[in-house]
């Protein structure tokens, strides 16, 4: 169970596969069905960002151990164009793709911890953590 689950993202079917695997792992770790839905939804948004902005990338899922509880970590990584202005991307209502523009701030509200690393033209890595209640 400590193994990392890797889901390559390159098509809309991969988005469905990634969120299924996320939900399955959440269920396996004993997350409530509500929290599993939040995790699956967050994965869906991150996978879609990969597809929209970078075309291909990868979602990695794994169980993590905190000092008192278990959790899930999701890493969404791509080698795409990167986010030029992270601060702007984390603001509600901002989008460069003409989509809804609440991707990252929305995802941030679904999880407990959120971190984004991105360099212009060198890809983006978003790491989220959700701890078991």
């Amino acid at each position: 169970m400590d193994d990392e689950i890797r889901v390559p993202i390159g098509s809309d079917q991969d988005i469905v596969a990634a969120r299924h695997k996320g939900r399955a792992l959440a269920a396996e770790l004993g997350f409530s069905s509500g929290d599993a839905t939040l995790i699956a939804t967050a994965i869906s948004e991150l996978a879609r960002n990969i597809l929209t902005y970078a075309k291909t990338g990868e979602i990695r899922l794994k169980m993590i151990h905190g000092s008192i509880r278990k959790g899930i970590q999701v890493v969404a990584q791509d080698q795409g164009p990167g986010i030029a202005n992270i601060e702007q991307a984390l603001r509600d209502g901002f989008s460069t793709s003409g989509s809804l523009g609440l991707g990252l701030p929305g995802v941030m509200r679904l999880v407990d911890e959120f971190q984004v690393d991105s360099q212009n033209r060198q890809g983006t890595t978003v790491t989220i953590k959700k701890w078991k209640a």
Partner: protein, 120 residues
């Protein structure tokens, strides 16, 4: 996976039965917009009871679908959004805006019947 569309009197009923890809959702939208005219339907019910994730793409597609159907002269009601899905949608900041929703299929039919009674 294609979503089956049933004709029931004046209404079309589309029941989503499995996790849909983006392409499936777009296909559903196109099929409903075409069939609503072909069947001369007054209302469309989209049953999302088995949908376990409603992300930004899905809600935008359903909202667009309802707006397109309204332009074709019919009404849409989305039924069966699960409580966990509703919670995640609100956290994510997603809204269906002016699209009608109902608890389940029965309530959806009642909503549309009521709507058309008041027009007549």
């Amino acid at each position: 996976m294609e979503v089956p569309i049933l004709k029931q009197g004046d209404f079309l009923i589309a029941t989503i039965q499995a996790a849909l890809t983006d392409a499936d959702l777009l296909q559903l939208r196109t099929a409903l917009v075409q069939q609503v005219v072909r069947a001369r339907s007054k209302g469309v019910i989209v049953d999302v009871t088995s949908l376990d994730v409603m992300d930004s793409f899905a809600s935008r597609t359903l909202r667009d679908l309802a707006h397109m159907i309204r332009l074709r002269g019919a009404e849409t009601v989305i039924v069966g959004i699960q409580p966990e899905v509703a919670f995640a949608m609100v956290q994510l900041g997603l809204r269906l805006e002016d699209v009608a929703t109902a608890l389940d299929l029965e309530e959806g039919v009642a909503y549309l019947n009521q709507k058309f009674k008041s027009i007549r």
